[in-house]
């Protein structure tokens, strides 16, 4: 102790190590700590001090930075190669994920389009997924994941976001099969959007092609014309895109033009489709139901009678059409028969066409339906049965040459005048 006591410090002089001094300093330290800990009085001081010593931190960090740089500089090739490999793998993985994301985004777009169609239709629709697909020259079918339990019935139209795909031909409890419009046994009544020309589009057996035969040589049709469903026949609602004419040529006989169309629907690409709910019967019974009631003025009575006459006529006319191809398809709008046939069509003709019947027997019915389609086009939308009563006698008195032709079975040559729009009819009938 004596030695220590004799020590001199320039700052404090003698007694630098006295216990009193120590106690004073310890007390100062404690006070400082308490002030700092409890009162945060020194926060501001510390803040300034921290700003002041910031360069010191940088200086202190310099050796570590230098060490890091050095390590980077001398990192051996092995490590770099490994890192490269690792990064490559990560990149691959990320790319794969990105691709999947792209597919999902595309699906999203597709579904959105479908959804839009569903909204804009205002019709009852149901979404179904494709689970199988058969595309060969003889059968163009798709299998959907909705069946009888989901309310699917035979004959429902199948659409995608771009147009008509086909119709349901077979229904199983949980799945169903649809025949595509390009199936060689399928026909869909269409209308050229630009001119309103009605005709039939037949499947060709190849999924990018529809045949539109029997176009009058004089008809106004050219490549690029859009085909839409005409709504005739009742299977397909009117106005859906079916395809686009790609080329027009002449039939070997030279009497008709033959067009080739490209389906509007993405037959080979769609993954989700819309099933249209069955449509109400287009004519006939609903009108009848409206007219039955209290006694009505003579005009209405007449209508009711006419409707009543038309309704019973239906089965008979249908049988007549199926059997002999009688005058119902006559160009001069033989309404009861036509109406009957268009009623009939969703059940018999269109479905037989859809169900790909053995070509020999029911093929006769197939052309009859298209034949009725265009002819009925004038009658069904514009003329309810009542108004066309006067014309009801027409088929009996004026069997046109066309009337006999539907009896000729081959599907490839449906009755030519039937395909002709009934514009010339008024001239011919009188």
């Amino acid at each position: 102790m004596p030695l220590a006591r004799t020590d001199t410090s320039p700052l404090f002089g003698s007694g630098a190590t006295s216990t009193l001094r120590l106690i004073v300093y310890l007390a100062a330290g404690v006070v400082l700590m308490v002030a700092d800990y409890r009162g945060h009085y020194l926060a501001r001081v510390r803040q300034y001090a921290a700003v002041a010593v910031e360069p010191v931190y940088r200086a202190a960090a310099m050796p570590a930075d230098a060490a890091r740089n050095l390590r980077l500089a001398v990192a051996d090739r092995q490590a770099l190669t490994e890192e490269n490999q690792r990064l490559r793998e990560a990149l691959l993985l990320t790319q794969a994920r990105l691709n999947r994301l792209g597919a999902v985004a595309e699906q999203n777009t597709r579904l959105k389009e479908l959804l839009e169609v569903q909204h804009s239709l205002g019709l009852g629709v149901q979404l179904a997924k494709l689970i199988d697909i058969v595309l060969d020259p003889y059968r163009q079918r798709i299998t959907l994941d909705a069946g009888a339990r989901q309310g699917v019935v035979t004959g429902q139209a199948v659409l995608d976001a771009y147009g008509v795909m086909g119709q349901i031909s077979e229904v199983l409890p949980t799945t169903s099969t649809a025949v595509l419009i390009t199936d060689s046994s399928h026909a869909v009544p269409v209308m050229v959007e630009r001119t309103g020309l009605r005709t039939i589009a037949y499947g060709s057996g190849s999924s990018d092609r529809l045949n539109v035969p029997n176009i009058p040589v004089s008809a106004d049709i050219k490549a690029g014309d859009k085909l839409i469903t005409s709504g005739l026949g009742g299977s397909f609602p009117a106005g859906f895109p079916v395809g686009e004419i790609t080329s027009i040529g002449a039939e070997p006989s030279g009497m008709f033009a033959v067009a080739v169309a490209k389906p509007a629907a993405a037959l080979e690409r769609s993954g989700e489709v819309l099933l249209l709910r069955p449509l109400a019967e287009p004519v006939g019974p609903p009108a009848l139901r409206n007219e039955t009631g209290p006694p009505a003025p003579p005009a209405e009575e007449l209508q009711a009678n006419a409707a009543a006459a038309a309704a019973p006529a239906t089965p008979r006319a249908a049988s007549a059409a199926a059997g002999s191809g009688s005058g119902t398809a006559a160009p001069n709008a033989a309404v009861p028969g036509i109406a009957a046939q268009s009623n009939l069509q969703p059940r018999s003709a269109a479905n037989t066409a859809a169900a790909a019947p053995p070509p020999s027997t029911s093929a006769g019915a197939t052309p009859a339906a298209p034949a009725a389609g265009p002819a009925a086009a004038t009658a069904t939308p514009a003329a309810p049965p009542a108004r066309s009563v006067p014309a009801a006698t027409a088929p009996a008195v004026s069997p046109s040459p066309a009337a006999t032709e539907p009896a000729v079975p081959p599907a490839a040559t449906p009755p030519p005048p039937a395909a002709e729009p009934p514009r010339p009819v008024p001239g011919a009938a009188p």
Binding site: A4, D7, P10, F12, L22, Y25, L42, A49
Partner: protein, 163 residues
């Protein structure tokens, strides 16, 4: 440059270097083994040139360390003041210890410093530190001979140079 100034420069440089070493970032693995550089340098100067290091300077140095390390203000100041006091008290004995004994003494001093730190922590309500808290005095003990020899050598060189 006269001798005093050169020695003063050496003194200041050693303190600054100690501060930098104290702050230098280290890998996490090595962090617990960082010796208490400020304490080591302080011990050296208190042993060799007690006229430069009084309790007040030790206290000031501790404040600087507090500010630099962001500790509770006064924490290191208190500890370094206590450290300086002990060294100055036993200076005559410590000076003439052989190196290994001196190292052990330094270890005891640093351990005592750690205990003080632990007390402070307890008062402020911090949880008990992990075991690695006690590695630093060992590292300080191992570093002491090198610090001592290096500074001694530098001082000797200065003296020779001046002479």
């Amino acid at each position: 440059m006269n001798r005093h100034r050169a020695h003063f420069l050496l003194f200041m440089l050693s303190l600054i270097l100690a501060c930098l070493l104290q702050l230098m970032p280290l890998p996490d693995l090595l962090l617990p083994f960082r010796p208490y550089w400020l304490g080591l340098i302080l011990i050296y100067w208190a042993l060799e040139e007690p006229e430069r290091i009084g309790l007040g300077r030790a206290f000031l140095l501790g404040l600087v360390g507090d500010v630099l390390q962001g500790d509770l203000l006064g924490d290191q100041a208190l500890r370094l003041a206590a450290l300086a006091f002990i060294v100055l008290r036993f200076r005559s004995r410590l000076r003439f210890f052989p190196m290994w004994q001196q190292s052990l003494a330094v270890f005891a001093l640093l351990l005592n410093d750690r205990v003080l730190s632990l007390m402070e922590r307890t008062f402020t309500g911090d949880p008990l530190p992990p075991l690695s808290f006690w590695y630093a005095p060992v590292a300080g003990m191992l570093a002491w001979p090198w610090v001592f020899l290096l500074l001694d050598d530098l001082r000797a060189r200065l003296r020779v140079h001046e002479a």
